[in-house]
C-alpha cells in the first residue's frame, strides 16, 4: 500500500443556487480542484463521484460519464464511477479514491461529490432523503430523518440529561463558524433563543436544529505521497481512511445513544494513523441535526459517552476550544448537499491544515479528522489527515 496525499481541493459556494445546474456544479468544483493542484487534465487516471440521489433530485443518473464529459476527458476514456452511500456518498467516494491510489492502480484520482436539491419542493426532498432509511420498515411507516434523529435526541436527553439548550448551542456555534466562511449557505449568527423559538420539526428538534436543503459540489485531487511533491509544497497526507457499516434501520441497532459504525470506524482510523483522539486539532463531523454532533464527538472519543452536550456548552468544540468542531459551519450552516458533504468536509480540513482557512483558521492545526455519516448510521466514514 502506498501513502496517499491530497494535492488539490475545490468547492462551489453552497446554498440555493437557482442559476446553476447540476452539471455546472460538478464542473465548477472539479475545475477549481484541478487548478488548485496544478495538474493537467490528461494526467487524471480515474474519478469517483459521490451523489446520493441525483436521479430523483435532478433526473440525472450515470454521473461518472457526465463528469468525464464536463471535464473534457472523453478522448482519454478514463474510468469514472458514481458512488452512493446516502449522505456518506462523498466520504465513501474519498475512501474509494484512497484505495485506488494506495493500491498502485492509479496515480492521479479526482474525488468529487455533488447534489442539487432545490429543483424539487420540500415535501419531495424529504421523501427522497427518506430513501436513505429502511424503506420497507421505516419510511413506509412515515418515518423521516428529523423523526429518526429526534428519537435519538429523546433517548440521549433521557439517559444523560442532555438539554434542548445544549442541542441549540451546536447550531449557534456552527452558525458562528459559518459566518466566517464565505462559501457557507448561512452566514448569519443565531442565538439559543432563536433556535428554541424556531418552529418544531420533530420534537425536540426545532427548525434551527436541522441542516438545510442545499445545492453544491466539492472535489479533491489525490496522488501518491511520493508524487505529490512534484505538484505542491502544501501537501496534506491521508493518515487514515476507514469505512464502516451497520444496520440500515435504527430499530435494529444495538444502541440509540451512539452510532456503532462511527465508533468502529474511529477506532480503526486512530489505529491506522497511530494517534489518539486528543491529538486531533480540528474536526469536521456530520451534524445533519444538532444531536448528531453531540453523539459524534462522543463516538469519536473527544469526550466520554453522555458528555457531548455539556462539553459543547463548555466550549470544548468552539473555534477557540480544545478541539474545534465544524469550523466550516458544518452541515448546519455551511449547508448539506448530501452527496457533496463528505468531500466538502475534506476541503475544510485541507484549508485548515494548509493554514488557509482565513478568519476561522485554527492555530497550528496539524491533524484533522472528518466524520461522514450515511442515514441514521448505516454507513460511517472517518478520514484522518495530516499536514506534511
Amino acid at each position: 500500500m502506498r501513502e496517499v496525499a491530497i494535492i488539490g481541493i475545490g468547492m462551489t459556494e453552497f446554498g440555493e443556487l437557482w442559476n446553476k445546474s447540476f452539471r455546472e456544479l460538478v464542473a465548477e468544483a472539479g475545475i477549481q480542484a484541478i487548478l488548485d493542484a496544478g495538474i493537467e487534465g490528461e494526467e487524471i487516471d480515474a474519478m469517483y463521484i459521490g451523489g446520493m440521489s441525483t436521479g430523483r433530485f435532478v433526473g440525472q443518473e450515470h454521473v461518472g460519464s457526465l463528469a468525464v464529459e464536463v471535464a473534457g476527458l472523453e478522448d482519454l476514456h478514463i474510468p469514472a464511477t458514481r458512488v452512493e452511500a446516502a449522505c456518506a456518498s462523498g466520504g465513501v467516494a474519498m475512501h474509494q479514491g484512497y484505495l485506488a491510489v494506495a493500491s498502485g492502480m492509479y496515480d492521479i484520482v479526482v474525488v468529487g461529490g455533488a447534489e442539487k436539491m432545490t429543483d424539487v419542493v420540500g415535501r419531495e426532498a424529504t421523501h427522497i432523503l427518506a430513501s436513505a432509511a429502511d424503506r420497507e420498515w421505516e419510511a413506509f411507516f412515515g418515518v423521516t430523518f428529523p423523526g429518526l434523529y429526534a428519537l435519538m435526541a429523546r433517548y440521549h436527553m433521557h439517559k444523560y440529561g442532555t438539554t434542548q439548550e445544549q442541542l441549540a448551542m451546536v447550531a449557534v456555534k456552527n452558525h458562528y463558524n459559518g459566518s466566517l466562511n464565505p462559501k457557507a449557505q448561512f452566514k448569519r449568527k443565531i442565538t439559543v433563543e432563536d433556535v428554541l423559538k424556531s418552529p418544531l420539526v420533530a420534537e425536540p428538534l426545532h427548525l434551527l436544529d436541522c441542516s438545510p436543503i442545499t445545492d453544491g459540489a466539492a472535489a479533491a485531487i489525490l496522488a501518491p505521497l511520493d508524487l505529490a511533491k512534484k505538484y505542491t509544497d502544501k501537501i496534506v497526507k491521508i493518515k487514515a481512511s476507514v469505512q464502516a457499516c451497520d444496520t440500515l434501520s435504527l430499530h435494529s441497532r444495538k444502541r440509540f445513544d451512539s452510532l456503532p459504525a462511527a465508533v468502529h470506524a474511529a477506532k480503526k482510523a486512530y489505529e491506522m494513523a497511530g494517534i489518539k483522539p486528543k491529538d486531533v486539532d480540528v474536526a469536521e463531523v456530520h451534524d445533519c441535526f444538532t444531536i448528531a454532533e453531540i453523539i459524534a464527538i462522543e463516538d469519536l472519543g473527544f469526550v466520554e459517552k453522555g458528555q457531548g452536550g455539556k462539553a459543547t456548552e463548555e466550549g470544548l468544540t468552539s473555534l477557540d476550544g480544545e478541539i474545534p468542531v465544524n469550523t466550516s459551519g458544518g452541515l448546519k450552516a455551511k449547508g448539506h448537499p448530501v452527496g457533496a458533504t463528505g468531500v466538502a468536509q475534506i476541503n475544510e480540513l485541507v484549508l485548515q491544515l494548509r493554514g488557509e482557512a482565513g478568519k476561522r483558521q485554527v492555530k497550528d492545526a496539524e491533524i484533522g479528522l472528518a466524520h461522514n455519516v450515511g442515514g441514521s448510521g448505516g454507513t460511517c466514514v472517518v478520514h484522518i489527515l495530516e499536514a506534511v
Binding site: E16, W18, N19, T118, V121, P199
Partner: protein, 341 residues
C-alpha cells in the same frame, strides 16, 4: 402620457384569521403570522367571485369619477380566477356598468399582474387617441389547496382604474421586466395552483420587482428619494417590505399601500388595491412608484404623479371598507369557497 381619471376598489367583508387556519392544520400561528407578516385575509362570500368583485370595483370607479360609461372604449379584466374558462368576465362588467356595446373588452391572465398589464394597454389606447377612457381591473378570488402554505394568504378583492387624459394622477412612464420563470402555475382543469416554494422568492418575486423598479427609475431619472409612496405586489407582508429595503425606500413610504397584513394577497388585485389606498391619502404633487408582480414571471412598474384634481375627487376610502369586517370560522370559509362537494 395618459393619467388615472378614476379608481375604485372592493374587498369582501368576511375575514379569516391566520390562527383559525393554523388551528385546523396544526400550524404555529405566531410563527406563521410573523413569518408572513399576515394576520388575517379576506374571504369572498358564497355569492362572490371575480366577476362580482370586478363589477363592484368598476361601479365605484365610475361613480367616484362621474364618468359616462358610454365613453369607456375598452375594458380589460386581469385575473387568475375568471369564473369561466371560455366566456369573458370583461363583458359582464361592461354590461353591468352600462358601457356596452361600443367598446372593446377582453380578459387577461398573467398570474398576479394581469390587471396592471390591462392598465398598460389602456394607457396605450388613450395615448393613441383610439379611446377616451379605458378601464383596467385586477381582481381575484384566489385559489389555495386546503392545507397548502398559500391558504394563509390567498384572498379576494380587486380594483378598477379608469385611464384617460388630464386626470387625478399622471402616469409619467411605465416599463415591464419579463422572463420565463416557472415559480407558480395552474394547469388547465386543476383546481389549485402549484408553486416552487422558496423558488418563488429570490429568483422570481425579488428578481422581477427589483429589476423593474430599477429599470423605471433609470429611465425617468429618479431615485427612491423622489417618491412619496411606493407600492409593491404583496404576496405576503414581508416581501414588499424587503423589496423596499433592497431598493432603498423607507418603510413609511410603503405603509400606506401595504394592505396584505389585513386582507391577505388579492392576487391580481394586490398592487392595484394598494395603489387605491395610497391615492385615498395622497396630496397634489405626490409621486408614487408602483410595481406589480405576476408569476411566470414579470413585473410592470409605473411612475405616477398626483395632480391638483385629486382635491375635488370623491375619495371613498378603501381602509374604511376594510375595517367593516366580519370573522368566519374555517368551516364557514370552506362553505363560502364551495369546498364542500
Amino acid at each position: 402620457m395618459a393619467s388615472i381619471v378614476a379608481y375604485g376598489a372592493y374587498v369582501p367583508k368576511y375575514r379569516i384569521k391566520v390562527e383559525e387556519i393554523a388551528r385546523i392544520w396544526g400550524g404555529q400561528p405566531k410563527a406563521i403570522s410573523s413569518g408572513l407578516f399576515v394576520f388575517e385575509k379576506s374571504v369572498p362570500s358564497i355569492d362572490e367571485d371575480t366577476a362580482t368583485i370586478s363589477v363592484e370595483a368598476a361601479r365605484r370607479a365610475v361613480k367616484a369619477g362621474k364618468i359616462n360609461p358610454k365613453e369607456i372604449g375598452a375594458i380589460y379584466v386581469g385575473s387568475e380566477s375568471h369564473p369561466y374558462a371560455v366566456k369573458p368576465t370583461a363583458t359582464i362588467v361592461a354590461e353591468a356598468i352600462g358601457a356596452t356595446p361600443e367598446l372593446t373588452a377582453a380578459d387577461y391572465e398573467f398570474a398576479c399582474k394581469a390587471g396592471t398589464a390591462g392598465m398598460q394597454n389602456c394607457i396605450a389606447l388613450v395615448d393613441a387617441n383610439m379611446i377616451k377612457y379605458g378601464m383596467a381591473i385586477g381582481a381575484d378570488v384566489a385559489q389555495a389547496a386546503p392545507g397548502d402554505a398559500l391558504e394563509y394568504t390567498a384572498a379576494a378583492g380587486g380594483a378598477a382604474f379608469i385611464i384617460g387624459k388630464d386626470g387625478i394622477a399622471k402616469i409619467n412612464d411605465t416599463v415591464s421586466y419579463t422572463t420565463d420563470t416557472p415559480d407558480f402555475w395552474r394547469r388547465e382543469g386543476q383546481p389549485y395552483p402549484g408553486h416552487g416554494e422558496r423558488f418563488t422568492g429570490e429568483p422570481a418575486y425579488f428578481r422581477h420587482v427589483i429589476n423593474a423598479a430599477k429599470m423605471l427609475m433609470e429611465k425617468v431619472g429618479t431615485t427612491p428619494s423622489d417618491y412619496n409612496y411606493a407600492v409593491f405586489h404583496q404576496p405576503n407582508g414581508k416581501f414588499p417590505l424587503r423589496a423596499a429595503k433592497i431598493l432603498g425606500f423607507e418603510k413609511e413610504k410603503i405603509e400606506a399601500g401595504l394592505l396584505c397584513p389585513y386582507i391577505g394577497n388579492t392576487y391580481s388585485g394586490s398592487s392595484m388595491v394598494g395603489l387605491t389606498a395610497v391615492l385615498d391619502v395622497a396630496k397634489p404633487g405626490d409621486r408614487i412608484l408602483v410595481v406589480s408582480y405576476g408569476s411566470g414571471a414579470g413585473s410592470d412598474a409605473f411612475d405616477i404623479e398626483v395632480t391638483d384634481k385629486i382635491e375635488e375627487y370623491e375619495r371613498q376610502g378603501i381602509k374604511q371598507m376594510i375595517e367593516n369586517k366580519e370573522y368566519v370560522d374555517y368551516a364557514t370559509y370552506m362553505k363560502f369557497r364551495r369546498e364542500f362537494k
